[in-house]
Symmetry: C2
Subunit: 236 residues, 2 copies
Amino acid sequence: MRQPLHERIRSDFEARILSGELAPGDRLPIEQELMQHYGCARMTVNKALSALLSAGLIDRRKRAGTFVARPRMHSMVLDVPDLPSQIRERGQAYAYEPIGHRLRPPAPGRDEEVQLADDGDLFELEGLHLADGIPLALEYRLISVLAVPDIGDATDIEAISPGSWLLKHVPWTEAETRISALEATTEEARLLRIPQRSACLCVERRTWRSSDRITYVRQLFVGNSYDLVARFGATR
Amino acid sequence: MRQPLHERIRSDFEARILSGELAPGDRLPIEQELMQHYGCARMTVNKALSALLSAGLIDRRKRAGTFVARPRMHSMVLDVPDLPSQIRERGQAYAYEPIGHRLRPPAPGRDEEVQLADDGDLFELEGLHLADGIPLALEYRLISVLAVPDIGDATDIEAISPGSWLLKHVPWTEAETRISALEATTEEARLLRIPQRSACLCVERRTWRSSDRITYVRQLFVGNSYDLVARFGATR
DNA sequence: CAGTGGTCTAGACCACTGA
DNA sequence: CAGTGGTCTAGACCACTGA
């Protein structure tokens, strides 16, 4: 069995939908008809259609049947960059250069910090990501001490970069990334060794584990030396 | 049956993996054991584990068993912006202001254009996306005439914005988006009505249908008035 | 070569919902 | 109320691969 039958059924309909032969709103055969057409059991047909359903290509309604889904707002997969491995993949040497860190309470006025701290303290870190000794990104990070109690004992966090340390030690379930372009301030430009007001890519990320907030990070990338890439591809 | 059994099994293990109770590399019970534990048939267990497999939380190897997957490079879902609807959702009036369009052959030296054209011509479009009459983005687009033969008759393409027109008329299967920050040139700044060398968010996208290239687009967003947002969430 | 997962069968009962 | 999909059962044969 080179190609499982359920996979063949799935890709048959995927092709017919993507080619436009089956247009949005068109009705697909019912499971009984597909069983006869492919000469198989209902579970096999059902497995194929379940895959199309979770890929968003079809809608299924009891009693009504199965229909080609209306074209939705498409979405793509954005890789969350782990800078150390990304830089090493480019054949460059990675280094994290700490600028400073401290333990402090959240600033009373700042909702962002108060929510993150959740009655505990915040661990604040700032540092540079270097590729072959040249600054690539300036990182400012806040970590909730209640959510990550090990943080106090983590003597290695600045040795391997805070992001990699967290990824390795703290599982997360939800995250939001916000991407924008802005001009570097005088201080940011000095640290990144670029001209003042240079265009930078700003990546902000908030991370949760269930409903607990874990960390906030803001990474400022030198504009002409870093791209984010997102891809959309047919399933499998 | 409020919650299907396969869904309960799936979420049980999802929770145990995300909480860290089951660490990467740990072995899960074999299907026979899970059948006994949950008192169900093997297909039910299999459906739950298949969902965890496609979510990337586990690895399965014949003869060896089922294991918690090593934490992978996480990825997030980036919504591909349909500017007209996005702007209207913000309660602003959307308008597309054409700057120009023409039919031309690909420039011989430019691989990008030659590949996109594929022995045909290119339809080139430039225009502004306006929110409440203020320029939000400058768009430069190339469309393969062979891939989209209807383009010649499309008198409405500039009325509803080229991106929306394509989304509606041409199904696509693959796309790549590249995001960077750069400084507006003199001409770009003039069209966007911003100071020269202002920071802009540059979004480039290449789109395919199967192996045919459909379009290349470059959108330059005014830096301080547009953010891209990507999200990662637990499945379902 | 034996344990494990991959796939499939031929049924079943039920929930939902639109004709 | 009848058609459709959602879920589940209790088996089966096989492919793969690591002990």
